[in-house]
Symmetry: none
């Protein structure tokens, strides 16, 4: 394997000069730069990136972990991250975990081997204790998703308030039987449920365990849950879906079964994705400023990398959600 | 064993020029190229073994370049790539180019610095001559997108047939004034236009330049183009959109303007994304097996990496498209 010495010998330059070119130092003439780069290609010399990155502590590459690319809310977060990354000379690589614990850890190894400067999580699959050790290798920022015990900066949305606003809206529309669709066991899901039950309890409404549906994320989940709801003897009159994809699939499923939305059943979305205003009836939903939390998370990441912000202690930055009333409720 | 210096001496060219030929860089005359190749044969020169050894070093990470994560067709391709990658122990990192030439080259540097084993392109922004030099560093596979001059494996869909089928369908429905929305100047766009005009010419239909719209990719583009169509004095009765996102936004825009789809204007999608069957009326569209070409591309990638398939010569694997008739035409 070619070494720096080989490049020096081939070009007739000193090893010091070759090293200056490789590490992109100033005060090297363009001629010498070109000579070295050509020789590197010729000899098949590749700088040992791991070693170099360890020394320089920067790759200017950030890994963003997201569960599912098909969910437009996450791509909106990515847009915000990317905007700030680009303005500051960072490259993003996107790692899709597909909600797999193993994949999440595999991607964290990119941080351990210094192939990236740090990681932004938009969703977490493993328990926090399995993530924590990786904070030794670079900044880890949680964006959107959060764990109450995580000791890193978290940029998140006020999920308690969001689900409270949506549930209150359904109650004000006269609904007393409301189905609740939930996701995982993360901090986000936990808080969203808190907001839902806060509104339910304030209104003194009964809640049946039959009306709670777990692991609902995708359009397929929406279709499945809607069919389950149709089978219930005591059927809810409104559904809190937790996501516009789930809600959209339910609107279509209602149409298929000849049910009118919202007259026969009201459906509340979450996120305010583009689809929310494309389908008929347009979805009442909770607007989540994904672009904004993405941008904030990347800003916080850069602050941590530059040592302006403490990266290994808990700090919470929380943004508000808002209700968008359209025609599905 | 002969060296580069020997080839340079034999041909009377500089080592740099010889190196450019060996690495297949642009801006070298055909004469010099031939001179070098002849000399290489003559002297029995084989490219540097160290470089080849380095090329064999594996990271088990593959970069997938995609233009826009918000387009579900590309996430479908990714699903196919991922399925085969996972089964073979490869990790994917996803690089969003946002159709930027510069970002595309920045991501290719991950290949040059050996942070990834190779690259799968689902869309290409730069002219092929700027991509070609990177084939020296590992397999580059084109998936979906293609360039007629690219000398790498390409897994693609028969776009000529796809747009021909769709346009024929509109003509059979009695349309004689058909607007055409196109994308970039890639091989894909070129072929899709061939299929469209083949059907138009076979039917002996006139085409006005006013009815051709460029750079239409997103929902925003769909809204913009539909508004432009409404302003035309001689308005088309059908629209070939080239994408379900564009088509969906047009269906919504038609609704906003009190126009009935397909009675007042027929709208043909492309891709068969989930949204195609969620909106009202459901979209007639061209089904593109994104998952399938993704899976094939990853299979081809592994074959190249393992030396079972030649990675630096053109090979085309083409899959068919099909028409899905719903209610928008």
């Amino acid at each position: 394997m070619a070494t720096i010495a080989d490049v020096a010998k081939y070009t007739g330059l000193s090893s010091a000069t070759v090293s200056r070119v490789i590490n992109d130092y100033p005060h090297v003439s363009e001629d010498k730069r070109k000579l070295v780069h050509d020789a590197m290609k010729e000899l098949g010399y590749f700088p040992n990136t791991s070693a170099r990155n360890l020394r320089n502590r920067k790759t200017n590459v950030v890994a963003v972990l997201i569960p599912r690319l098909t969910n437009p809310f996450f791509t909106l977060i990515l847009d915000g991250i990317e905007r700030v990354a680009e303005a500051n000379g960072f490259q993003l690589i996107i790692c899709q975990t597909k909600s797999s614990k193993k994949k999440e850890i595999d991607f964290l190894n990119l941080l351990q081997t210094k192939q990236v400067d740090g990681v932004i999580f938009t969703s977490i699959e493993n328990e926090w204790e399995y993530i924590q050790p990786y904070t030794a290798y670079g900044p880890i920022i949680l964006c959107n998703e959060y764990h109450h015990e995580a000791t890193v900066p978290m940029v998140r949305l006020d999920q308690i308030q969001g689900s409270y606003l949506g549930t209150r809206h359904l109650i004000e529309k006269g609904h007393k039987k409301i189905a609740y669709c939930m996701g995982s066991t993360s901090g986000l899901s936990f808080d969203r449920r808190l907001g839902f039950f806060k509104a339910i309890e304030e209104a003194g409404i009964d809640m049946k365990s039959d009306w709670i549906f777990r692991d609902t994320y995708t359009m397929e989940d929406g279709k499945r849950v809607f069919q389950q709801i149709l089978q219930l003897s005591d059927r809810p009159t409104a559904i809190f879906t937790g996501g516009d994809e789930v809600a959209s699939a339910m609107v279509k499923e209602a149409r298929t079964h000849g049910l009118h939305v919202p007259r026969d059943i009201a459906i509340l979305g979450f996120d305010d994705q583009p689809i929310a205003s494309l389908i008929e009836p347009e979805l009442t939903t909770i607007y989540q400023p994904g672009d904004e939390i993405g941008a904030r998370a990347m800003t916080v990441f850069i602050e941590c990398l530059n040592g302006i912000r403490e990266r290994m202690s808990q700090a919470v930055i929380e943004l508000p959600l808002s209700l968008v009333i359209r025609d599905s409720t």
